[in-house]
Symmetry: C2
């Protein structure tokens, strides 16, 4: 790492941790040069980079200041009451799908500003280059190629994925990997492999609605574990829940969690794996945003600490490369045979043209170069959204500053009604993802998830302004907490 990059990383970490609070002035260039023994040009380069990342802003003749978010998220207890939750956290029935679909329907419409979308903005994806890979592999799809290699996915792609694990320092043998129809199929197969109807499964609260839908579909019960706004899942709450309840499996997103954007730090991932290993509980790890990190290094997944084969690590190319290709995978630990068997019974395999095109692209296409650019741009876009929220949302709104991914989780005061905002915003051509779709018990009615992955534009600025106006209108009705 170059010296200016070291300085960027140092200051960016302090800003994300809150040690350098919003509004704080960065040390002057002069101070930096003296303290760190750097040239002024190196120090300037570092500050320009931080500005580019959307973390600081220069004020003429004054210096560099840390910008938004206006405040961190409240502690989990304040989100909806941890103690109340610990006693009432088993949801017997979810009934979530209808609500989720009514929200997602709106996102399909291209005329709607897609702040509620879960999809990445595809404008940065190397689709031309991928198209070339597709054209290159097309003639190879002949004869037995078309029917052999279906089970578990094509070896060429499994090899490329195994190499990427290796580059991270994780050995996941290609013979164990199972290629799936997106991470969504991987997650659903994992769940079916380790739990039965009626079983209790621990999920995050708030958490990705696909886990809620899967539990509802398979008639399992949700045990909601609160997510801490700074460092992800509340492990102490999980440990207490495991004492009290017969949890059959966990389904967690350990890095850049959807919807909060939070990550478990490395040592907490290790502790999570140890906690579950002690009880022999399988972990379904959803890691689809892991490659979209803003720091200098990829976060290790919990899978990296798995010695017992209890962690099923699920990911895909849908957030970084090619959502429509529908290719994901799972490194399944000890559950590989069961997962592969379930896939053979339900979809047989992922589509071969997409698998082979991705294998070709991974081998020749410059995926890492693409990812570096993608991370860089995502961080800047997210910063633009955060800054717009500061400008337009009512004072007192709380947002986190994610260290990766493209979601911003916004918490209003307790009386706020995100479902009402969702309706009002839709009527003005703007989608948002209201908090209740991320909870089996429809908690988080005072929260919103916004997609910050789209290129910043006047249209987005207007949309955030409109949301802010609609949120302010709610204040009179917000009740005593507002």
């Amino acid at each position: 790492m170059k010296r200016y990059e070291q300085l960027v990383e140092l200051l960016a970490t302090d800003i994300r941790n809150g040690r350098l609070a919003p509004g704080a002035r960065l040390p002057s260039i002069r101070t930096i040069t003296v303290q760190h023994g750097l040239s002024a040009s190196t120090a300037f380069k570092a500050y320009y980079r931080l500005e580019e990342k959307g973390l600081v802003r220069a004020r003429p003749r004054s210096g560099y200041y840390v910008i938004g978010p206006p405040a961190q998220l409240p502690p989990p207890a304040a989100l909806s009451g941890r103690e109340k939750r610990t006693s009432a956290l088993v949801s017997s029935r979810l009934h979530i799908s209808e609500l989720v679909f009514s929200v997602l329907d709106a996102v399909q419409d291209t005329d709607i500003v897609p702040l509620g979308s879960a999809f990445p903005s595809p404008d940065l994806f190397p689709l031309q280059r991928l198209g070339k890979s597709l054209a290159r592999v097309a003639p190879r799809l002949h004869g037995r190629e078309m029917v052999a290699h279906l089970a578990q996915g094509h070896p060429a792609l499994r090899q490329q994925i195994a190499l990427r694990y290796l580059a991270m320092g994780m050995a996941q043998p290609m013979d164990e990997l199972v290629i799936t129809n997106g991470a969504l199929e991987a997650l659903n197969l994992c769940l079916s492999a380790v739990a039965q109807p009626g079983d209790l499964v621990a999920i995050e609260s708030p958490g990705f609605y696909a886990s809620l839908q899967a539990l509802e579909r398979l008639k399992m019960k949700a045990l909601e574990i609160p997510v801490h706004p700074q460092d992800g899942l509340d492990l102490a709450a999980l440990a207490r829940a495991l004492e009290r309840h017969p949890v059959k499996a966990c389904w967690f997103m350990t890095s850049f969690q959807n919807p909060t954007g939070t990550s478990l730090p490395r040592e907490k991932k290790q502790a999570l794996v140890a906690l579950l290993a002690g009880r022999g509980i399988p972990l379904i790890e959803d890691d689809v945003y892991g490659e979209l990190y803003f720091g200098e290094r990829a976060p290790w997944p919990a899978k990296a600490f798995d010695r017992e084969g209890l962690v099923m690590h699920c990911s895909s190319f849908s957030k970084t490369l090619a959502p429509g290709y529908r290719v994901g995978w799972v490194s399944p630990g000890r559950f590989g045979e069961r997962i592969a068997g379930l896939q053979l019974m339900t979809t047989l395999s992922a589509s071969l043209p997409a698998q082979l095109a991705l294998a070709d692209y991974l081998q020749h296409g410059g995926y890492d170069k693409h990812l570096r650019k993608l991370r860089h741009v995502m961080e800047a876009r997210l910063a633009s959204l955060l800054a717009a929220i500061v400008r337009h949302f009512p004072p007192g709104v709380r947002v986190g500053r994610p260290a990766g991914g493209y979601f911003v989780w916004v918490a209003f005061d307790a009386g706020f009604d995100a479902l009402a905002l969702h309706e009002a915003a839709l009527a003005r051509g703007i989608s948002v993802a209201p908090g209740p779709i991320f909870s089996a018990r429809r908690d988080f009615r005072h929260c919103l998830r916004l997609n910050g992955g789209h290129p910043w534009s006047a249209r987005l600025e207007d949309a955030v302004q409109t949301l802010g106006m609609l949120a302010r209108r709610q204040s009179p009705y917000a009740g005593p907490d507002a």
Copy 2:
């Protein structure tokens, strides 16, 4: 239809129906010219065509004779006892997957003669032409194309499929169709949409093992309805079963059924739809072999008679065009919303490159021309397999002569052990599909399914000879019925 084609159809129908029995001599060319008012060259052309189809054989200076199969299948009662079945036909637990997988594993190996395979032989598929479609659509996969149009599948493909329905005289609006990851996903989604764990579902006996696996996976119960060797599902047995049991749904293959190759005639399809409509029972119709008919016209599916929206018509391109693309669909009747919703929760959608390439191919690629050739060649290959069975299998073996598809169902005497034959054959590098994998109760131990879709070769001839030798060896152990 040309005059010689009319004659071919007339005689082929008589041969398939058994009105012209194996060994029977066809009318002389002279008789034909007189009876039908045709020229001798037209009559010869028809006979050549029948020979090409593998239905007749010329004997020098003697005439044309109907060749194999040696006998028709026994009536369903003789297969495993219909009355016994009607009382004991509910299988509480299936435990079928392990057996199926152990059989299917062998088929993966390219060194094994694939008589046990369920896959079509890909040698006839227009993969070069499909590859061109893939290359052509590749650059179109950009921007919002990649995330829009995921739900229900891409409109371009839905439109092409709707046009094919229209060409058959069936109006299935493209807005209702759901594109899936192969027919297998369609079938599984349909089942989840209309039945719950514990529910009773009527299936065919013998029947496609995917239905058994699906019921086992979803903890549903199987009600086995016998398949008649001439004209498919025993409707009277179904009607009796519906009187006695609370059947929640049916899952049937109405044309060129896997494994028996039988079809429900048009009037029986209509009667089936009426029977189920009277009770409001949904029908999951698996029609993946419907395009592989040897007659002059495509058989209508049961869906064609559906007025209530109770029939979910599932098919795919996997048996005719591109198995590895994993693209199928369902025309879902009144269950479309539920099926599409379940897909959004589990795999999201089928892969876009494959969908768009197929849409392009259907629009420009000459699918109908390809299908005509495929049907022609399949029929001849199947005839080669039937003829080899006549040459090499023990006398008394019974086989049907399918009017479409590529499977031959072989019934030995009652004491025969197809699982033992499967093991012995595998040791000699030959796979077969033993009868018990097609039954929830592991019936049909005296039966085999053979794949007749591969190009005929000395290797296949040898394999059939070896199977015949192994079958003869079993005779001493076959028990009193043998």
